[in-house]
Every structure is written in C-alpha cells, then in structure tokens.
C-alpha cells in the first residue's frame, strides 16, 4: 500500500480509520498539554510519568490476569499518579532539584516495571504475550472503545483548560505571584499534572512508555517557534500533534513493517527541526538572514553617514566630491556605493559623487530615529 492508497482507504477501511482517528486525537491532546509541560520547564516530567506507569500495567495484569487495555491502562494511571505525587513530595520535602527527583522516580519505577515484565514472561501462562507492546506501543491494537476513551478525555481536558485558562496561564508565568493573589496554586498544579498523566497513559498503547514523552514535548516545542501567544501556541501544538499522528499512521501503514509509534514520533521531530530552522521570528535561518541584512545595512548607513559628514562642510549639499575620498573609509565598497545610488541617496558623475536631497536628510536622521516602532 502506498500513501495515496492509504488516503483513499482511510475513509472506507474500518480498522485504518479507527487507528488514524486514535493517533490524531492522541497527538492533539498530548500536544496541547505538552505546551504546559514545556512552559513549566518540566520537560522530563512526561518521561518520568510514562516510565512510572509501567509497573502499574504489570501489576494490573498480575492481579486480574486480564489483557484488555482498559484494565491495564487503569493500572498505569494509578502508578503514574503515584509516581507523580512522589516526585512532588520529594521536591517539596527534601529540596532536591526537580530533575533529580524526576530522574530518580523514572529509573526506580521503570526498573521495577521491567523486573515485573520479565517475571511475567517467565510464567507458564500463554496469556502473557503482548504486554511488552506497552514499551514501544502498537497502534494496530487500537479499537473503537479506545478511541472513544481518548475522545472523552480530550473533550474533558479541553473543557477544563478553557474554564481555568486564566489560572493556568498565570501559574505558568509566575507561580509565587499567583499565590499572593489568593489562588490555590496547588490545586491548579494538580489539575494540570493530572491531565498530563491521563494523556500519557492514554498514549501508552499507541506510542509506548519509552517514546511517550516525545509526543508531549515535540509538538509543543515546534509550536513555540511560531508564535508569541500562549493560546496560539497551545492550538498549534494540538494541530502539529494531530498531523504527526495522521502522517505517522499513514507512513507506517504504507510501509508494511514499520511500527506506528516510532514513526509518529519521528514525524513530530521533523516538525520540530523544521520549526527551529524556518520559523520567521525565532528560526535559525531567518536569524542568520537578519544578521547578514543588518550587517549590510550597517555598512550602508556608515558609508552614508561618512558622506554626510563630508557633504555637510559645504553650503551646497549636492556639491560633488571625488570617489577617491571614500577609499580611506573602512566601510566603503563599490557595491555599497552602488546600493546608495540605487536608493537615490547618491548621484554619480564620472569619478565624482554627490548626495541627493533625500540622501542628505536620511543621513541626518539616521541616528536620531526612535526605536519604538510598535503601532
């Protein structure tokens, strides 16, 4: 199947449609919530939570013997939440740095989870095969009820986000100040974090423990490059996330053997790389271009200012001077002179130059210009 075939099939093929819808919704909700994690500088949080969810899956299986995703993910949710609150506890009680606490919980829970998985695999029970899909995810196992679950959580998340938008925003920007205004910052924080946990747990089946945090971070990091508004950033992150989901599913479906989760993460990473290079205001490319342009402008301005100095000594501003005069000036080149001519600032006659009226005025105003160009 190639990509074209995929897109013609996606509307008719039931399984394909379910998977595509699932990954799209998942991408949207993780992108949205990821924005909050990124802005709180809690990039590691997603990683810690997803790894902390692993023992929950194993324990849920050991207790119930069931393999249906809802039971297992419920286990993941519980252990993810426990991990998160331990992290909070460690940070507030011991004054360890937050990345230390995150790293600690991450390795502790993941190690324990792996231990349980190996233990389960050694059991003489044919039923256990497939638990390791939660390590790297297996989008193909998504069924309609999973997608419904994702849609409900996403809707809930959207509702809460819109309701508490103002509170989320101020907490993200300045938590101490928020506290002095009388807001219960702990409540807001727990609300945000709980939704992050929920979104991560929902993604485990599709993307897996190991790569889940990339789903959280990549769309948000990419979105941050394109805007200076929080609402636009959250919106863009959701779009990027959803596109990563759809494109990733399309690519993996058309290349038979590629597993979906890693491909989705790769597509999201492409968004990031693209954004870091091509974003107009923050991207590397335009920064470099602006730098080159500024340097050129500066040379131009310096030359013009120098000419202005010479011209200002004469009554007649358009009095011609020898081009030779400019050779002693550092910033001068033939091409800068040509550019000044092109801009009508300077006139050439043989090997003489003279300033035009606009040229003279521009030069006179060069360094007195105010820099508040807003509005």
């Amino acid at each position: 199947m190639d990509i074209q075939e995929y897109f013609s099939l996606v509307f008719s093929d039931y399984t394909l449609r379910t998977i595509t819808l699932g990954t799209a919704i998942l991408g949207a909700v993780t992108g949205m919530l990821g924005s909050f994690a990124v802005l709180r500088k809690q990039s590691l949080l997603g990683d810690a939570i997803s790894h902390a969810a692993l023992p929950g899956i194993a324990i849920a299986f050991l207790i119930t013997g069931a393999k249906d995703s809802n039971t297992l993910l419920f286990g993941a949710l519980i252990s993810g939440l426990i991990g998160t609150f331990w992290i909070r506890g460690i940070i507030t009680k011991t004054h360890l740095k937050s990345d230390t606490a995150l790293g600690l919980i991450l390795s502790l829970f993941f190690g324990f989870g792996m231990l349980l998985l190996t233990f389960i695999q050694k059991q003489p029970n044919a039923n256990q095969a497939g638990l390791d899909k939660y390590l790297f995810g297996q989008a193909a196992t998504l069924v309609v009820s999973d997608v419904w679950m994702m849609a409900i959580v996403t809707g809930l998340c959207l509702l809460v986000m819109l309701t508490f938008w103002k509170e989320f925003k101020i907490l993200l920007f300045d938590a101490d100040y928020t506290k002095t205004l009388g807001f219960n910052t702990k409540f807001i924080d727990i609300l945000i974090t709980s939704f992050i946990v929920l979104a991560i747990v929902l993604g485990l089946q599709t993307v897996g423990v190991v790569l889940m945090s990339a789903m959280l971070l990549a769309p948000a990091a990419a979105a941050r490059q394109w805007t200076n508004s929080l609402s636009v950033m959250v919106f863009l992150a959701a779009i990027f996330g959803a596109f990563s989901g759809v494109l990733g599913t399309a690519i993996s479906a058309s290349q038979n053997n590629l597993s979906t989760g890693p491909v989705i993460v790769l597509v999201a990473s492409v968004f990031v790389v693209f954004s870091f290079i091509f974003s107009p205001s923050r991207g590397l490319l335009f920064k470099q271009l602006r730098f080159i342009k500024n340097r050129r402008d500066l040379q131009l301005h310096k030359t013009l200012a120098f000419m202005h100095q010479i011209a200002a000594t004469h009554e007649d501003i358009s009095h011609p001077h020898a081009i030779k005069l400019l050779n002693s000036f550092q910033g001068y080149t033939k091409s800068t002179l040509q550019k000044l001519v092109d801009k009508d600032y300077v006139q050439l006659q043989g090997n003489m130059w003279s300033l035009t009226k606009i040229g003279f005025e521009t030069a006179a105003n060069l360094y007195t210009k105010q820099t508040t160009e807003d509005e």
Partner: protein
C-alpha cells in the same frame, strides 16, 4: 500615633535546617516608604515571601492591619524580583499587567474591558504604553521591571512589597520609579522596598529596616540610618567572612 499596617511577630524561616531569618519582630506604620537593607543572602527576599505566605515560616505570625494576611490579601500587592520568572514566556506586556486584576476577578472569570482599561492606565503611569503589545522577551531589563511595577499598581492595594525594583534600571527609570513610589506614599499607601543602594536611602525613603538574618534596627531614616547600624548590618559580617 499612626496605625500599624504590617506587624510581624517572632518570625523564623528556614529553607533547610539553619534559619535564614531569626525571630524577626517588625512593625511597619501606615503611610511610610520603607527600605529593607542588608547584604546579599541577608534574607530580605525571604522576609517578603514569608510575609506574603509564599513561604511557610517555622514559627511566628504576620498580621495586616490587625488581621491575618489571608483575610487581608486584597490589600497587598507584590513586585517580585525580576529574575524570578522566565521572560521568554509567550505573552505580551499588556497581558502581564492584566494579571494584576486576576486577584479581584477571582476564579474562572476572565478580564474584560474594565480590566483592560485599568491595565492600560497602569502602563501609561510607568511610561510603557507604547510597548503594550510587545512580546515580553523583547523588552529591556528596566522595561520588564516597569511592567512588574504596573502589574502591582493595577491591584490598587494599600500595601506594596517590592523586591529590588531598581535592579538594573538606568538613572532616568530609577527617578521615574521613585516618583511613582512617592506618589503612592502621598496617597496614604505603605510601600516596602528591598533596596541595595545605600547612598540613596536618605533621599528616597523615610523609614528603614536593617536586616541580616536578625533584625538589626527599624525606624525613621533620620533617626537610625547611621554608621553604627550600617556596621552592625554589613561591617561585622564582612570582617567575619575575611577571617574565615
């Protein structure tokens, strides 16, 4: 006798085991413009944070006009140290100033026209109206400081706590800010400012508190701003640290 705006009793604060503030008693009369001075690490920021309930003290209590801080919150505004937030946050100057209205709005309700108007007025007061739509990362340090000041002004409080509002601002901005503070005092408000430039204390402030883990002295500038207290606050510690 003036009313007491802020009263601190036996306040002790510790981050780890060793207290960074020891048994502080402090009475700040209404309507003063007070400087808190002391060397780096003296606990000035910590004192403000403990008074504002950002930090939990291990002992002691704070009252605002005779009642607990929790009950009087709306009377108090805070200007944090500029470096305490990430200025690359995706938002504009106007938006940050609007945050000053969130407290009176309470939960869920969004700022509307009224709040916007108040924010614009505050921006105007600090001379930043032209920058209202600027992304905050594209403001200079002194401009960011003025945005924080405007955010506190919007709160229309009775008591202002400011942590180093003059940090990294040029002479012109400093004068502009101190004029705003003096205006606040004229309007009967109490303004408490962490201040590092000892030279300007007598010129700017009428009240001063010397702090270095313990409270060294507090009172009118003309009575207690002298070498004796300065040595007690800065000098002795300085000698001790050289001996070590």
């Amino acid at each position: 006798m003036k009313k007491i705006a802020v009263k601190v009793d036996d306040l002790t604060v510790a981050y780890n085991y060793k207290p960074v503030l020891w048994d502080i008693d402090l009475e700040i009369p209404e309507g003063v413009l007070m400087a808190i001075v002391g060397p780096n690490g003296a606990g000035k920021s910590t004192l403000i944070k403990a008074i504002l309930g950002i930090l939990k003290p291990i002992a002691g209590s704070v009252s605002i006009y005779g009642k607990s801080y929790e009950k009087q919150r709306q009377l108090v505004a805070y200007v944090p140290q500029k470096g305490s937030v990430d200025w690359d946050f995706p938002t504009t100057a106007l938006d940050v100033v609007k945050m000053g209205t969130y407290g009176s709005l309470g939960w869920i309700k969004r700022p509307g026209q009224k709040e916007k108007k108040a924010a614009l007025e505050a921006l105007e007061k600090v001379g930043m109206l032209a920058f209202k739509n600027r992304q905050i990362s594209q403001l200079s340090g002194g401009q960011q400081q003025r945005i924080f000041l405007a955010r506190a002004l919007v709160q229309n409080a009775s008591i202002y706590f400011m942590d180093e509002p003059f940090q990294g601002v040029d002479a012109t901005t400093e004068i502009a800010i101190i004029n705003i503070l003096k205006e606040l005092r004229k309007a009967g408000k109490t303004v408490i400012v962490v201040h590092h430039d000892l030279q300007t204390v007598p010129e700017y402030f009428d009240w001063v508190t010397f702090l270095n883990v313990k409270k060294i002295a507090t009172g009118p500038v003309k009575d207690i701003f002298n070498d004796d207290n300065l040595t007690k606050t800065y000098g002795i510690n300085y000698k001790v640290s050289i001996q070590e």
